[in-house]
Structures are given as structure tokens and as C-alpha cells.
């Protein structure tokens, strides 16, 4: 009973906050609703018994990605009425893209057939919770059977990261930078000299 209640609670809040993400007027509120949606999806994962995925969802998406979203959204200084001006003009093309995506989703969903070990013997694909925690289960699958895909995904992310750095990095001449090593290695003698000044003579 509690399980069903929790499921509907999480599901309804997820869908509601998903709608609010795109419909709220203030972009910071949108990000907050996005975070709420992440949270409730994490709750749904917990209900499925996938506690590892749930925690990783919160750590990665809420703890890091959404913080950066928030960071960017807060820094932006946009006139939102200006942005909404073209809404009527772009509505048809937006609706068209949405429709195409929806059709693709429906087609994928209809053409979906379960194959392989999942259908033949579910127990081999997902070990029971009392035999193996799902962190171990995931690890023993990702790092053995799917190691190639896993490494590829990592490489793609690395390439994306390096690409972003290469694209935005530019050498600016005349920028003053600190050399921390130099600062740390500086000794007393480099900064000043002690001069014995005889009275009545000055430095000369």
C-alpha cells in the first residue's frame, strides 16, 4: 500500500515539476523545479530497488549539473519579455519538431522487443537483492561484459571536454599571471638588501 502511494506521489510530483520547468516565468524557478524532478526520479529509482542509480542521480545531476545550471541562469541578465516576443512566430516550427520527436518516440516504443538474457532468464541479468547489492551487480556487469561500451562513453566525454577547452581557450598577450612556485621559492635576499648606513653619510 505504502509502496503504491509512494510511487504515485513521486510520479505525480515528477510530471508536475517537469511541466513547471518549461512553464514557469522565472528561470531560477525553472531550475528549482528541475531539481525537484530529479529528486522525485531518484525516489522512483529507490522504489525500483536501484539505490545506487538513485544516489548517483542526486550526486551528479542535483549536486553538480544543476548547480552549474543555476550558476549560469543567475548570471544571465535577459529581458524575458524581449525573449518571448518571437513566441507566436516560432510556435508552428516548434510544434512541428515536438511532433516529430513524439512520433519517433512512439515508433521506438512500438518496435521495442525484448531480446537476449533479459527475456530468457531475468534472474541471470539482475541478481536478487539478498545475493548481491546492486552496486556490485552493476559493477560486475559494466566492468566485464560492457567494458568496451563503458570505456567508449568515457572517451567520448573526454573528447567533448577537450573540444570545449580547445574551442574556448585563447592565448591573450599581455596577461599578468602569478607563478606560485616562484612566489613560494622567494627568499629573503631576493626581496631586499640590508645596507649598513653610516651616520652622516647617507646611501651616497
Amino acid at each position: 500500500m505504502i509502496y503504491t502511494l509512494c510511487f504515485y506521489l513521486f510520479a505525480i510530483v515528477t510530471v508536475f515539476s517537469g511541466i513547471m520547468v518549461i512553464s514557469s516565468r522565472n528561470p531560477v524557478h525553472s531550475v528549482l523545479y528541475l531539481i525537484l524532478a530529479f529528486f522525485n526520479s531518484a525516489g522512483l529509482f529507490v522504489l525500483l530497488g536501484a539505490e545506487f542509480v538513485a544516489m548517483i542521480l542526486v550526486i551528479v545531476y542535483v549536486g553538480a549539473v544543476a548547480v552549474l545550471f543555476m550558476f549560469v541562469v543567475m548570471m544571465l541578465d535577459i529581458d524575458y519579455s524581449e525573449m518571448r516576443k518571437g513566441f507566436q512566430k516560432y510556435l508552428p516550427i516548434g510544434a512541428l519538431i515536438g511532433l516529430v520527436l513524439l512520433a519517433e518516440l512512439v515508433l521506438v516504443g512500438m518496435g521495442w522487443s525484448l531480446q537476449g538474457p533479459v527475456t530468457t532468464d531475468p534472474a541471470t541479468a539482475i541478481p536478487a537483492l539478498d545475493q548481491m547489492t546492486n552496486t556490485e551487480a552493476l559493477g560486475s556487469l559494466i566492468y566485464t561484459k560492457y567494458i568496451f561500451l563503458f570505456q567508449m562513453a568515457g572517451l567520448i566525454l573526454l573528447v567533448a571536454m577537450i573540444g570545449a577547452i580547445v574551442l574556448t581557450h585563447r592565448k591573450r598577450p599581455g596577461v599578468k599571471k602569478q607563478n606560485i612556485n616562484e612566489q613560494v621559492m622567494r627568499r629573503r635576499g631576493d626581496a631586499y638588501d640590508i645596507v649598513k648606513v653610516k651616520p652622516g653619510q647617507g646611501l651616497g
Binding site: L32, F52, V58, V62, I180
Partner: protein, 354 residues
């Protein structure tokens, strides 16, 4: 806990509790049993903090309210409670009030998975350490939201500094956790503690192993995560007045304050669980086990908290670029290297936990 409650009601009122009621009230009693002592500990830790700074700076510290000034924190709390809550006219009211509540709530929620003794834990999660990491990474929201909702430049600067700082240091904390997890072979906090029993020459705790440098990295990152000096850039009073707290008064401010200290104690608890052996005595020697585990645990928290106060009393504040350099160019490579070395060591010596 639920069984105990059923027995208690049976004995006291002669009523048999329904199972669902017993479960729920068992959880509620468990929560209260953690939160109420925690709040008192937080109040006393503020007092201890001030006394330690005072001692190190040759002052007396709070010594007026109550014997030896013991009641100072409660007097401060009462003062804040009786003040007026001021909400700036141009603030976003809901988020302005949500932020301190969130900070305080997150600081308390994390304690659900902390094991105080053998089996004395509210929620013995399989992924306890990930839960802790997730909750501590959410702490940034309270600050970033307060900075934005205050609609004030100082507060906003503080919030921006804080979000960049906390995200940076979470990376190295994550890698430190990975080294500990690899060595312990579990994500469950109780099992991590049990894995630290007699690691080397009868000493309990990972601080005695090559993980010691990771403990230092973890501790310094914890300072940055909790915005403690020398990393208290988000509230640097010399540059941006008090950063994100500048518009807050009364209980809203008190919630930030309490949340901050609850987080510091939580980080102390995490350090003692991950590296100092939690509720195990320092050495694996039978007579030491007569002393209950929670006393060892509190002793270790007390010690780490003392080091927190010690650092605050002695170290000057970092500059922001130095802070970022330390996080990304020093701690990240070191902790990443240590993950690889630890993995290699465990593999070569065939010590990988099953």
C-alpha cells in the same frame, strides 16, 4: 525500535499498537533520539569552538552566562529567537525563507545513516556513503538560493563564490571516498568501520595505512565544503560583509548558523568513520572494548572538531584564486593518483576485498 515501542505501550497502557503505527512511530522516535541530542551538541560545540579560539589567542572567551559561560549558546539562541525576522522588500520571499530551512534540514537529514555503535543506526543503507555524499553536495543550494533570493550584491557574490568552491572540492572528496571504498570493499558505513578493525599491527583505522595523505586531503576539503576558515570566502567579512548571510536576521540567520555547525560535526563524524575507525577503540586490545563504542565515536568526533577549531584560530584566509588552485591543481591530481596507486596496491598484494 518498533518492537520496543509495542512492548512499551503494552506495558504502560495495555494497548497493542497496529504494526504500521508501530513502524511509523518507531521511526519518529528514532529521529527525535538523534535530532534532539544533536541540537544540544551543536549548541555546545559553538561554545567549545569559541573557548578554543579564545584559549589559542590568550583571551577568556564566553564566561558570563552560566557557570564558565556554558549557557552562552542558549542565550544567543534566545536572543536570535526574540528578534524580528526582516525580509527585504525586493527579495523573493518564498526562496528567501526556503534557503535557511533547507540548509538546516540537510544538515540534520545526513545523520540518518551515521552508525553510532554496533547496529545503532537509524537507516542502515547499502549505499550509506553515497547518501552522505549526495546530501553534503546538496548543501550548496541553501547558500546559492539565499544569495540569489536576497537580491543583494554582497549576498550574490557570496553565493557565486560558494557554489564554485563547493563544486570544486566535492571532486577531490569523491576521489578520497573512492580510495576508502576500494580498501574497505563496501559502501555501507558500518561495514567500512568493521573493515578498519586491526588493519596493521593491531591499530584500528585507516589513518595508520598509506591512506593517511587521503585523510589530510579529506579534512582540508571538508573545511572548504563547510565554508570554514581558511576557506570561508563565501562570507568573507572583510570583502563582502557576510556574504550570503548579509540580509538575514533572527531565526533565519540562526538556522544558517545551526546548519553550519551541524555540518561541521557531520564532517568530523565522517572523518572519524572513514579514517579513524568510527566506534572502534584506537587499538585492537580487548580491555578497550569494555568502553562503549559510542564513547569512542564521540571522542573521535570531539578530536576532529578540535582540529577544525584549531585551524580557524591559527590560519589566515586564502585568496580565491589560491583556493581554486589548491582544489583543482593540487588535490585533484593527488587524489586521482592515489586512487590508481591504491587500486594497484590492492591488486598486486591480492588484498581486494571480496
Amino acid at each position: 525500535m518498533a518492537d520496543l515501542l509495542v512492548q512499551f505501550f503494552q506495558w504502560a497502557f495495555g494497548v497493542t499498537l497496529a504494526p504500521w503505527l508501530a513502524t511509523i512511530s518507531g521511526i519518529v522516535v528514532g529521529i527525535l533520539a538523534i535530532v534532539l541530542p544533536l541540537l544540544i551538541v551543536v549548541a555546545m560545540s559553538v561554545y567549545m569552538d569559541r573557548k578554543v579560539w579564545a584559549g589559542m589567542q590568550m583571551r577568556r572567551g564566553p564566561n558570563v552566562v552560566g557557570p564558565w559561560g556554558l549557557l552562552q549558546s542558549f542565550a544567543d539562541g534566545l536572543k536570535l529567537f526574540l528578534k524580528e525576522t526582516i525580509i527585504p522588500a525586493s527579495a523573493n520571499k518564498f526562496i528567501f525563507l526556503l534557503a535557511p530551512a533547507l540548509t538546516f534540514l540537510l544538515a540534520l537529514v545526513a545523520w540518518a545513516v551515521i552508525p553510532f555503535d554496533v547496529g545503532v543506526v537509524l537507516a542502515d543503507l547499502n549505499v550509506g556513503i553515497l547518501y552522505l555524499f549526495a546530501i553534503s553536495s546538496l548543501g550548496v543550494y541553501g547558500i546559492i538560493l539565499s544569495g540569489w533570493a536576497s537580491n543583494s550584491r554582497y549576498a550574490f557574490l557570496g553565493a557565486l563564490r560558494c557554489s564554485a568552491q563547493m563544486v570544486s572540492y566535492e571532486v577531490s572528496i569523491g576521489f578520497v571516498l573512492v580510495t576508502v571504498l576500494m580498501t574497505a570493499g563496501s559502501l555501507n558505513l558500518s561495514e567500512i568501520i568493521m573493515a578498519q578493525k586491526d588493519v596493521f599491527w593491531g591499530v584500528n583505522g585507516y589513518w595508520f595505512t598509506p591512506l593517511f595523505p587521503m585523510m589530510i586531503v579529506f579534512f582540508i576539503s571538508a573545511l572548504a565544503e563547510t565554508n570554514r576558515p581558511p576557506f570561508d570566502l563565501p562570507e568573507a567579512e572583510a570583502e563582502i560583509v557576510a556574504g550570503y548571510q548579509v540580509e538575514y536576521s533572527s531565526m533565519a540567520f540562526a538556522l544558517f548558523f545551526l546548519g553550519e555547525y551541524a555540518n561541521i560535526i557531520l564532517m568530523s563524524a565522517m572523518t572519524s568513520i572513514l579514517f579513524l575507525g568510527g566506534w572502534l577503540p584506537p587499538v585492537d586490545w580487548a580491555p578497550l572494548y569494555i568502553i562503549p563504542g559510542w564513547i569512542w565515536f564521540f571522542g573521535k568526533i570531539f578530536f576532529v572538531f578540535f582540529v577544525f577549531a584549531w585551524v580557524k584560530a591559527t590560519v589566515p584566509r586564502y585568496r580565491y584564486d589560491q583556493l581554486m588552485r589548491l582544489g583543482w591543481k593540487v588535490f585533484l591530481p593527488i587524489s586521482l593518483l592515489w586512487v590508481v596507486l591504491t587500486g594497484l596496491f590492492l591488486l598486486l598484494t591480492d588484498k581486494i576485498p571480496a
